[in-house]
């Protein structure tokens, strides 16, 4: 993209403004069609039978009574899906193994968690399907189970996968264990680094799995035709990846499957994976009818991706003046039933906010009898960063250094070499810290039992395969087909704005649609905060290609060389008076006569977007603690984050606010609660407590703009960073308020009260 004009040198008309989002009216009138809103003529209703056991051998499945029920048209079990060999593929920010994907979608030898699918039914009504599911007779041989990560790593722990040898350890262990994989990242000499320290603090932290909590349950509708073609509508963040996985799991050609992403009712990383899609396709194939499947909220909690629960041990050494000399971490992450947690990414980002010479990080990916984890907004980072930011707060207090100052003294900056490899380019970490330091929030008075905490976050952000297709319509308006799902953040608005800026038209003149898998080349999942970055880059390339064609057409009409035509302010203009005297031609003028000058005008981009800009943020939070009940109330909150350029600032603020509130929920009340038999006790929004409106204050936002030089409009990804700091920031604020240091999430009232009592007792 080196040839692109720098946006900083241009007078921007659209980028940076706040137009109405193009999908907005449909969403405020009920027209927008989400997964469960799609119906096909004569469709059947599908339901899944799920394991009530945390761990059991699957002895037999008898579907005869269900099949005999009037209205039941098909049943599928493990026998309907082929065995899959070990084969890895990227799906969002996590790596999947097809041997496991097929087993997670439908149990084979064993069930590994409460909620694991065992069979699925298609029937003429939902009521019949539900009844049929209850008629399926399954014989299980229950096995001992393990859901805690520390227990799962013990030698005598119940083993989920009898053939699982820890990867990443040399020489490989001789016996299987629940540790699927070990990753290690190191730099310098940590022993020497700790020896230089005036203070070394080592602490352990525990976090529970939390769920993405999207309000739209997973929903899919599939139609399999007699000639083996599939049409699938599904609520997903990545329809191309869903297509690829369905083709693999069902042994079909990719070209035979067409996937249309529906409007997405929230994903946050949790809708990167197949759950219902292959089941709906197979039920449709067996019944010769379209099949619609919608998860209940209970299904969503029991069987779709929470993020990992974890046990972490963090050790940091620093000098008296607050310089970090060494840092060490062991991160033990629950993967759920199958390998593949976010621990590799957590390991890479745990210390990356700081420029530290001596680092060692070990991450363990541990299988336990819980649903297979899925990505959740900056997967793993909030868990890993919790401990680091908590210890830094302790160190700052120990040496009486301002908590922002201690971070500034160690802050990563342009040129910092990370311990996992890359050297950081231009970044805005220090800028967010400085902005936070001067924010009025930092000087606001605090009352009794109130305290203030700060914490920071970093996320890599990614690019990847991306395509876009722009058609200039006959009247000079434009239609952009993009291939990354608009996962809610307003990427259709952002695309329209960037394309409009290029073309020199109003944003409303650019209609943006998300194309199905047949209308564009492959696009990776909308994950890793890549939507506005990567699709933005592709859309701008497509627009510039279209502009080159518009210039060519003008040159042809004026009978001048194409170099003699400029594109400026939505018009073709003579580049200089030497070219000749011509009235500028608008995009509409040229488009209207395109048929006579060479045919329709379009632009395309098929890229692997490179150069995503890392994101950094600093959060400030005030809390008030009820010392008699342990209740923590968040009373003020400020998010400062580097966005690169904010294309649509209102939706940038929305990402900051939404991420912070998810982080508040994570910090204070959200958790998966299991009974002793490994059954989930809170699979609903009543007892899985996401924040409600009255739980949170206004979330102030400060946008810092340090441009990403690799993007035509300086864009960095922004969606993930805002969920990283809240847990640590709130823990630090609680300490500031009442002097207790909480190292276990959620920081729920019973834990706060217990810590207060322990402190009173001098423990």
């Amino acid at each position: 993209m080196a040839t692109m004009l720098k946006y900083e040198d241009r007078d921007l008309k659209v980028v940076g403004t706040r137009p109405i989002r193009p999908d907005g009216v449909d969403k405020v009138t009920g027209r927008a069609r989400y997964g469960a809103d799609i119906n096909l003529p004569g469709h059947l209703y599908g339901r899944v039978l799920r394991s009530p056991h945390a761990h059991a051998r699957l002895i037999s499945i008898d579907c005869s009574a269900a099949l005999a029920l009037p209205g039941v048209k098909a049943v599928v079990t493990r026998d309907d899906f082929p065995e899959m060999p070990v084969e890895y593929a990227a799906a969002g920010e996590l790596i999947v193994n097809f041997r496991d994907v097929t087993r997670n979608m439908m149990a084979r030898e064993k069930v590994f968690y409460d909620g694991h699918p065992v069979a699925a039914v298609a029937a003429t009504s939902d009521a019949v399907a539900r009844k049929a599911v209850r008629l399926i007779e399954v014989v299980y041989a229950p096995l001992p189970h393990v859901i805690d990560v520390v227990e799962a790593m013990r030698e005598d722990a119940p083993l989920l996968h009898e053939d699982q040898i820890t990867a990443g350890v040399e020489p490989p262990p001789e016996t299987p264990s629940n540790v699927a994989k070990r990753v290690r990242f190191a730099k310098g000499d940590v022993a020497a680094g700790f020896a230089q320290a005036d203070l070394v603090i080592e602490r352990e932290f525990d976090t529970k799995p939390v769920h993405q909590g999207y309000i739209e349950p997973q929903a899919s509708i599939a139609s399999y035709t007699e000639d083996g073609q599939v049409e699938l509508w599904t609520a997903t963040q990545g329809h191309f990846v869903i297509r690829a996985q369905c083709a693999k799991l069902l042994r079909m050609d990719i070209s035979k499957i067409r996937v249309t992403p529906t409007e997405l009712g929230g994903g946050f990383g949790g809708k990167n994976n197949v759950y219902l899609e292959p089941l709906a396709i197979m039920l449709s194939r067996k019944s010769n009818r379209p099949v619609k499947m919608v998860m209940s909220r209970e299904d969503v909690f029991r069987a779709t991706g929470p993020t990992s629960g974890a046990h972490t041990r963090i050790r940091i050494g620093c000098t008296r003046d607050g310089r970090i000399t060494a840092a060490e971490a062991q991160l033990d992450f629950q993967a759920g039933a199958f390998a593949g947690s976010s621990v590799p990414m957590a390991s890479m980002c745990v210390f990356t906010r700081y420029d530290i010479d001596n680092v060692e990080v070990v991450g363990n990916d541990v299988t336990v009898n819980r649903p297979k984890v899925a990505a959740y907004r900056a997967p793993g980072a909030p868990i890993a960063v919790f401990g680091v930011e908590s210890i830094l707060d302790e160190m700052a207090r120990e040496f009486d250094i301002d908590p922002i100052e201690i971070r500034l003294r160690n802050a990563a900056k342009e040129g910092t070499k990370t311990y996992y490899g890359p050297v950081l380019g231009p970044i805005g970490y220090e800028a967010t810290l400085e902005k936070a330091r001067s924010h009025p929030h930092m000087k606001a008075p605090l009352g009794p039992n109130q305290g203030r905490g700060i914490a920071t976050g970093f996320w890599f952000n990614i690019g990847n395969e991306t395509t876009a297709s722009l058609n200039v319509n006959e009247d000079g308006t434009a239609t952009l087909m993009m291939g990354t799902v608009d996962v809610a953040g307003g990427s259709r608005a952002a695309m329209a704005m960037m394309v409009a800026e290029e073309l020199g038209v109003a944003a409303e003149k650019v209609r943006v649609l998300v194309g199905d898998t047949s209308s564009l080349g492959f696009n990776f999942v909308t994950a890793g905060s890549r939507g506005t970055f990567a699709s933005g880059m592709a859309s701008v390339i497509a627009a510039r290609q279209a502009i080159d064609k518009l210039r060519e057409r003008a040159a042809r009409i004026w009978e001048v060389p194409v170099d003699g035509v400029l594109w400026e302010g939505g018009h073709a203009r003579p580049a200089s008076s030497n070219v000749g005297e011509f009235e500028p031609m608008s995009i509409g003028d040229i488009a209207r006569v395109a048929g006579k000058t060479g045919g329709p005008i379009a632009g395309h981009a098929e890229i692997n977007a490179q150069g995503a800009g890392p994101g950094f943020g600093t959060h400030i939070v005030d809390v008030e603690v009820d010392t008699r009940t342990g209740l923590v109330k968040v009373i003020r909150y400020t998010v400062v984050q580097d966005t690169g350029k904010a294309i649509h600032p209102a939706y940038v603020e929305g990402q900051f606010q939404g991420g912070a509130v998810q982080g508040i929920g994570w910090a204070l009340n959200e958790e998966y609660i299991y009974d002793k038999d490994g059954r989930l006790q809170n699979p609903g929004f009543l007892d899985y407590r996401v924040p409600v409106a009255s739980d949170v204050p206004f979330i102030d936002t400060e946008i810092v703009e340090v441009p990403n030089p690799n993007h035509p409009y300086g864009v960095r990804g922004i969606g993930e960073v805002p969920i990283i700091p809240p847990m640590a920031a709130i823990s630090n604020a609680i300490h500031d308020a009442v002097g207790i240091r909480l190292r276990e999430q959620p920081m729920s009232p019973p834990k706060v009260l217990e810590a207060l009592r322990a402190r009173e007792a001098g423990l």
Binding site: R628, T629, N669, Q681, N682, D687, P749, P750
Partner: protein
């Protein structure tokens, strides 16, 4: 499944009695529909009692309020007279679910669903409300605390319906309050609930009190020792400490996903104190 929406109690009780245990009363439905969806209950007959006029009344009768069991939470909250008379009962009603849920949920349903954590129940008990019951055998009355006997279980005989609640005459210089503890501000189930109703004399001495706790036992508890701690006091620190201790001593909670035994017990004392102080403030204000 059959659906009936009778207009008289006679027909309703006959329908319920005739169904041999296979019938469920449909009031607001905010508990019943969830239980039906979760396959926890599968009734042959639901009897919608919202068309029975007597159950929909909220009015003062000679100094006593009568609250129909099928009056919704929102209707209770919007009734100015009742709010003035029984603010503590309204505290409890206000905490049942969301605005949406209260648009349907009824006080009778909140009681008869027999959840130990029902928010209106400790407040009703503290207020000394009496449940007026109709059944195939005629009518009877029972104190509210005698209706629920354990989680999901009531003392109502087959075919019996709670028709309304009759409140005592409001004593001068008396006030009531209900507080609950939940991790979230709204949309939660009480981890602990405490209802206090008390009366003061001209010098601020407590002359009568009732204290009830929710979510700390298999059903809402009347805590007489806690009431005794208040009576004769001016709610000074020592009295509040006795109240708190009595409340804690009465707790027989369980450990579950919503709270631990230790936490519930501790917080029951705190809430009883805080509810007593608000009730006293309301009593002073008159």
């Amino acid at each position: 499944m059959r659906y009936e929406a009778p207009e008289t109690l006679e027909v309703a009780t006959a329908l319920l009695a005739g169904a041999g245990g296979g019938a469920r009363v449909l009031a607001g439905g905010t508990d019943l529909l969830i239980q039906m969806r979760g396959d926890i209950v599968a009734p042959d007959l639901v009897v919608d009692i919202k068309n029975i006029a007597e159950m929909r009344v909220l009015a003062e009768e000679g100094g006593h309020y009568r609250l129909g069991a099928a009056v919704t939470g929102m209707e209770v909250m919007e009734h100015a007279g009742f709010n003035a008379a029984w603010p503590g009962v309204v505290d409890g009603v206000r905490l049942i679910g969301s605005i949406q849920v209260r648009g349907r949920a009824t006080v009778g349903g909140n009681l008869c669903n027999a959840s130990p954590a029902a928010d209106s129940v400790p407040a009703l008990i503290a207020a000394g409300a009496v449940a007026c019951i109709a059944g195939p055998g005629g009518r009877r009355e029972a104190p509210v605390e005698e209706i629920a006997t354990g989680p999901g279980a009531t003392s109502l005989a087959e075919g019996e319906i709670v028709v309304s609640f009759l409140f005592p005459e409001r004593a001068p210089r008396s006030g009531d309050c209900y507080l609950r503890f939940t991790p979230r501000t709204e949309m939660d189930i009480a981890v602990v609930g405490a209802g206090v109703c008390l009366a003061l004399d001209g010098s601020g001495v407590c002359t009568a009190a009732r204290v009830a706790l929710g979510a700390v036992a298999a059903r809402a508890l009347v805590v007489e020792d806690a009431a005794r701690a208040l009576i004769g006091s001016r709610l000074e620190a020592a009295a509040l400490e006795r109240l708190s201790a009595a409340a804690r001593a009465a707790c027989r909670p369980i450990d579950d996903k919503r709270g631990t035994i230790a936490f519930r017990t501790e917080v029951a004392g705190v809430l009883a104190e805080r509810a007593a102080l608000v009730a006293a403030e309301r009593a002073e204000r008159g």
